[in-house]
């Protein structure tokens, strides 16, 4: 096959070039994210027997509502727990707990995303062996969480119909790195003039391989394929 490969070596200064007279070169080749990445690897090992989702969205898109509905719908079938990050309050953990799942609130203070280490500390409070699905509800933010691997199996980005069809184009990095996209609040799509075809086209352009779920966490419409996705990913992981 006559595929072409672009050159990777585009370094301006040349690899190993010494520009300081009398200096010698020391190779490093280490990632600036190495600490987070090492903890993420350890998390992944600790999560060997349960499916772990990293759920991201902008604030107010309905992450917690989706989880409340999911926990209630799957009660008695899948054992779920939620780790939730917010800058302040434990309101979301209280809501998840009321829905019937163990939850741990991470209060990040001024930090705009979750890091692998915060998750490692939070899951210490959970019985991982007794779980089927662990959801890490990230801080509401479509920018920063994109760079931090938490040790999850599946990254899910949620957007709601009130946010505009071009959200994937404005925040492509986080959509690009997602395995699944949830479009929430479809029950009010018509009222807010949501252009479904345009939104789906934008999602596909940015992340062509992701599975897309259109649902309403409030009414329950469209939840069945989402539940099936969780079951299927869990079954795949457990082989």
């Amino acid at each position: 096959m006559a595929g072409t490969a672009l050159t990777r070596d585009v370094r301006v200064s040349g690899h190993g070039t010494v520009e300081t007279p009398g200096a010698r070169v020391v190779q490093v080749q280490k990632s600036l994210m190495r600490h987070n990445d090492a903890v993420a690897v350890a998390n992944r090992a600790a999560f060997a027997n349960c499916l772990v989702l990293n759920l991201v969205s902008s604030p107010g898109s309905g992450k917690t509502a989706l989880l409340e509905r999911t926990v209630r719908d799957l009660a008695g079938e899948l054992r779920m727990a939620v780790v939730v990050g917010d800058l302040e309050t434990d309101n979301d953990a209280v809501r998840i707990h009321a829905a019937g799942a163990p939850s741990v609130q991470i209060v990040t203070g001024t930090v705009c995303h979750l890091e692998a280490e915060m998750v490692a500390r939070a899951v210490d409070q959970l019985d991982l062996d007794g779980l089927d699905v662990l959801v890490i509800e990230n801080v509401g933010n479509l920018v920063c969480p994109a760079s931090w691997d938490l040790g999850e199996d599946v990254r899910v980005t949620l957007l709601s119909v009130t946010e505009g069809e071009d959200k994937p184009l404005k925040y492509p990095r986080i959509f690009k790195d997602s395995h699944a996209i949830v479009i929430n609040k479809v029950d009010i799509a018509q009222v807010v003039g949501f252009d479904r075809a345009q939104a789906l086209a934008n999602v596909h352009r940015v992340t062509p391989a992701a599975q897309v779920f259109e649902l309403s966490a409030r009414t329950g419409e469209g939840m069945a394929p989402w539940r099936a996705f969780l079951r299927e990913r869990l079954a795949t992981k457990r082989g």
Binding site: G22, Q27, A209
Partner: protein, 115 residues
């Protein structure tokens, strides 16, 4: 994005590697940053100015090489460079969106110049 944290991590990595080599001073730190890493060059340089203070890299230059984002088109079986910095990877030959990003997220220290 989080340039200060990255700058601190950069200096830590450099000092650790330089010490291991028995160096006295770090003259330059060479880093490679992918076009989609979300790192703003000016912010990284500014943060580096603070992060290097009081370390053996206090007078070091920061040499940043930006790596272009490269994706693979399964239809054309070839790689292409993204023509935007937003991560939207659509093949320029056949207009098919690609999910297979081969380069562009890197953030690493490649090498140092030490004395």
């Amino acid at each position: 994005m989080h340039e200060f944290g990255l700058a601190v991590s950069m200096v830590d990595l450099a000092v650790e590697a330089a010490r291991k080599e028995g160096a006295e001073r770090i003259e330059a730190i060479h880093v490679e940053i992918g076009a989609l890493a979300g790192v703003v060059p000016e912010a990284l340089e500014f943060a580096f100015g603070g992060a290097r203070e009081g370390t053996m890299a206090a007078h070091a230059r920061l040499e940043v090489t930006y790596l272009p984002a490269i994706a693979y088109c399964a239809t054309c079986q070839s790689e292409f460079e993204l023509d935007n910095r937003f991560g939207i990877a659509v093949c320029p030959r056949c207009d098919t969106p690609s999910a297979d990003l081969r380069q562009g997220r890197e953030m690493h220290v490649s090498h140092l110049e030490v004395t």
